[in-house]
């Protein structure tokens, strides 16, 4: 039997446990690399897709805006109508309608009563000055006028002054407020 010396380094054989560890490490590296590659490709791809989408939308927006410009006259007419209607509504709601109250005041007038002054300057206030030679006709007129103001939605009637004049007549100043 011959025994020789091997001058080459003897290759150490890996144990089963070592083999398992190496294989596990390889797997970990492979999975990590795969995840990273997927993420990089996915992100770059998604960003590219979004940029394209943005460009498309921008050109679509430009087209729509230039289309809207062709309707400029129609749109300005509509805006003008809306503006005017808002302002007209304000004017109409703030208007006094003196003819309605005035007609009723004149209709309520007794023969002996003289209307010497009516003031209708605000929407919610009427000032009335009357003169009469007879106190009973003045009383009848005030009764009628109270009803008139109530019908017209006035809530307060204030008798400002009731005076007996030198000539024996009477004068009355009243204010009706809404």
């Amino acid at each position: 039997m011959q025994f020789g010396i091997n001058l080459l380094e003897k290759k150490e054989l890996a144990t089963t446990e070592e083999k398992e560890v190496i294989s596990r490490l390889k797997k970990t590296i492979a999975i990590t690399l795969l995840i990273y590659s997927l993420l990089v490709v996915g992100l770059i791809g998604f960003q590219f897709f979004l940029s394209r989408e943005k460009q498309n939308l921008a050109s679509q927006e430009n087209q729509l805006e230039s289309r809207i410009k062709t309707f400029q006259k129609v749109e300005s007419l509509e805006v003008l109508i809306k503006d005017r209607l808002g302002k007209c509504a304000k004017i109409i709601s703030s208007r006094t309608h003196p003819e309605a109250v005035l007609t009723k005041i004149i209709n309520a007038k007794e023969e002996e009563v003289k209307i010497s002054g009516v003031e209708l300057t605000k929407n919610e206030e009427v000032k009335l000055a009357v003169e009469s030679s007879d106190v009973s006709s003045l009383e009848r007129f005030t009764d009628k006028i109270k009803k008139v103001f109530q019908e017209e939605g006035y809530k307060t009637i204030i008798f400002e002054t009731v005076t007996r004049t030198k000539g024996g007549g009477y004068s009355l100043n009243l204010t009706a407020k809404k």
Partner: protein, 231 residues
């Protein structure tokens, strides 16, 4: 090489945490800013999509509008509330109304002030006040008030010192006329087309029934930026 392998096997339990730390560092420096960029693009895309949808709706709305009909409506409304101060036109309207009702205008006072050109037109509503002293028949005067309140341009009438003597009267009348400049801008391209509410439609119909006293206007001097509302 042998040592490296040996070390790797020896410290294999540290490998996973090391990979995690490296992943986090790469993620922090590379992925995080990229996620931020993508989120920014995505958000702006969402906004643009909304804008495109608004623009499409606006075009659909605009297509339903009839230019002829709108011109007719706007003309009437510009008669109701003129865009420029027009004292002479208003005086003519008052004169015509008084004449139609056989009333005497004893005095008429107005302080028109500055008559604006289009370039300095006021978009807010302004008043032009006329002070009148009138006399005549009461019933005619009541009719005058009724007609004036159902006429265009819109006016507001106020009465002071109304004095009756038999069937005749004398009074001071304050007649307030209004004017307002045209709107200057249309707003944003994606702004919704303003639609008329049922109340506004009702008001428009009401104004259609009013008498027209179209006042003659003076040609205004051109100046400033062109106004899209000048037709």
């Amino acid at each position: 090489m042998k040592d490296y392998k040996k070390n790797l096997i020896k410290y294999h339990h540290l490998f996973l945490p090391a990979v995690l730390i490296v992943s986090l560092m790469i993620g922090w420096t590379f992925f995080l800013p990229r996620f931020g960029q993508i989120k920014g693009i995505y958000d702006s895309l969402q906004k643009e999509r909304e804008r495109v949808s608004k623009l499409q709706t606006k075009i659909q709305d605009l297509e339903t509008l009839n230019e002829y009909e709108l011109s007719e409506k706007s003309e009437r409304l510009l008669t109701a509330l003129p865009s420029q101060k027009n004292p002479v036109g208003m005086m003519m309207m008052i004169g015509q109304l008084a004449e139609e009702n056989s009333l005497l205008v004893e005095e008429l006072r107005v302080s028109p002030g500055e008559v604006a050109t289009e370039a300095v037109e006021i978009t807010e509503m302004e008043e032009l006040v006329f002070k009148l002293t009138m006399s005549g028949d009461i019933n005619q005067f009541l009719n005058f008030l009724k007609v004036a309140n159902q006429s265009l341009p819109l006016v507001n009438l106020q009465i002071k010192d109304f004095d009756i003597s038999g069937q005749s009267f004398s009074t001071d009348v304050t007649l307030v006329g209004y004017y307002s400049g045209l709107p200057k801008t249309l707003g944003k391209a994606d702004a919704i087309v303003p639609k008329l509410t049922p109340e506004e439609e009702k008001l428009l119909n009401q104004l259609r029934g009013y008498n027209l006293y179209e006042a003659k206007t003076f040609e205004s001097l051109p100046g400033g930026k062109p106004n899209p509302f000048t037709f």
